[in-house]
Symmetry: C2
Subunit: 315 residues, 2 copies
């Protein structure tokens, strides 16, 4: 079996960082870029990493998915808001029985994409626990953490052991690059778990125009963050995906240790891009509603964000 | 019995408008002013009223409460945030057995002031249903409505019929000036009723930086406003003050008919003044909590406002 060829669709902070980590683990990695193409063609791709130091690489890069060689693994790190538009690129790049990994936030992103993909493609989710943002063109600033949880969603592998082995294969690459990577059996649990962080910090950073540090320092917003985290863990449990008892406490501690961070939704709103409201809020509220579990504060956050988004996009 | 002499402490939009209405009802009204004193001394006090047309008057005005004659009725229309500081002025102006009327928003404002007043003073609440703001110096812009509900709180009158008669006396003055004025038996019910409007619009106008019109037009904020109104009516009921069944629907309709309005808390925040968070939110949440009634969205609004206020006042 030849060494798997890996494609990265969406070389922003997430795609760039984890793609470089795969390259560091001696994998063959091809990157699809848009706005940073010229800069990376000249100077390579760089990560200024708080844990890994400065990494620089001049990997094969592409402007057009049609120019990429067939890839056995495709890691997708674009915004969930453009997933349907991404299907043609996936189909151009995917080798037969390729593994597609959605390194995206929120719930149900694989469910939404699956009907648009042929059945011979494996689909996985990758939950990235990382603080990173794009700095200057071609440079990724990695500020904290850097873990990833991987789990199988659907495709040719029907046996749970085989599904776990596929997720484990990717986890091992990241591990050998020094990251905290885990293969998980249940993707839905992995996604709810990540949502416990995303739900409070993303939305509150937009509504209250604030980074994580100030939100954690003020007792009122700290209480609010905890309440929203409890709503998400409660909803996960009610939906049949119980999370570890100490998860909320651990996440609060981790966030308190981080330096001030502006979540991705903050940047999306500031740049007048659509926010990932469906993936991060609407699907969680729908699933909780279906089992009769109330998430009033999460719902209030969504109401507020939809108001702000409409006003922002219409101006 | 001589004609009662009336004092207005705090001649902003509320004190100015309702004070002029009392003067219009042929009462003797004395106004305590601060920043607008010079202007009003020269040009009088003016109301540009949507319902009453232009009203202009040159009433007796004062910079210092010590210069005012003893008043039989004192209408207080300052911010609740400065109530304790107001006691010396009240004591200077109050005739024996004077009636003190707090024309202020929120819950428990009389309970908080009562211990600071001598027992021979009557204390009432006046709930003003009005859209008005200060325009140029000495000019009050009256945009919509203009009703007032009055109710007795505490003091020398212990008989409910006598208490109602006192509230009715003031209501009659406002009625004869053409306003929708009502004497109510139960002040707590009157205050909860007014809170149904204040709780959603004041806080959301600050957090979402928006007037009432946009908040009512967007389905998400309309839903949120309704939810918060339902929390307040539910809390009122749980605290033993049931409100009319159709109150929420009526308030929504009234607000939809108004032209765009920025509630007082919006102006307080914009001018970096303290917001009336204790009177409008904290006491309602405390009272509801004591009877085990949850107000999660109102609580989230308070959490958000306290965060914003601290950041605003510390910069």
């Amino acid at each position: 079996m030849h060494q798997p060829r890996i494609g990265i669709l969406g070389t922003g902070a997430i795609g760039g960082f984890y793609g470089l980590m795969l390259a560091k683990a001696a994998q063959e990695v091809h990157f699809l870029l848009r706005s940073d193409y010229e800069q990376v063609a000249k100077h390579g791709l760089r990560v200024n990493s708080v844990t890994q130091g400065q990494l620089q690489l001049s990997p094969p890069i592409y402007r057009d998915a049609a120019d990429m060689p067939p890839c056995d693994w495709i890691f997708i790190a674009t915004k969930t808001t453009s997933n349907p538009d991404l299907v043609p690129a996936i189909l151009k790049v995917a080798a037969p029985e390729a593994k597609i990994v959605l390194m995206q936030n929120g719930l149900g992103v694989e469910d939404a994409l699956r009907p648009l993909l042929p059945g011979n493609l494996h689909l996985l989710g990758g939950l990235c626990f990382i603080c990173a943002h794009r700095g200057e063109q071609g440079i990724i600033e990695h500020e904290a953490m850097g873990g990833i949880n991987l789990a199988y969603h659907s495709g040719p592998a029907s046996d749970p052991a085989q599904q776990l082995a596929i997720a484990q294969q990717a986890a091992n690459w990241f591990k050998s690059a020094g990251l905290d990577a885990n293969a998980m059996q249940d993707l839905a649990t992995a996604r709810w778990q990540k949502l416990v962080w995303n739900a409070p910090y993303n939305g509150l950073s937009v509504v209250l125009n604030s980074g994580t540090e100030a939100l954690m320092q003020h007792p009122d917003t700290l209480a609010l963050i905890q309440d929203i985290m409890q709503e998400v863990t409660g909803a996960a449990r009610a939906c049949g995906h119980p999370l570890p008892e100490d998860l909320v406490g651990k996440m609060l501690k981790n966030t308190q240790r981080m330096s001030d961070y502006l979540p991705s939704m903050y940047h999306d709103f500031a740049l007048k891009r659509p926010m990932e409201l469906e993936a991060i809020y609407e699907r969680a509220l729908q699933q909780a509603h279906q089992v009769g579990f109330a998430m009033p504060k999460t719902q209030m956050l969504l109401h507020s964000l939809k108001f702000l988004e409409q006003r922002s996009l219409s101006h």
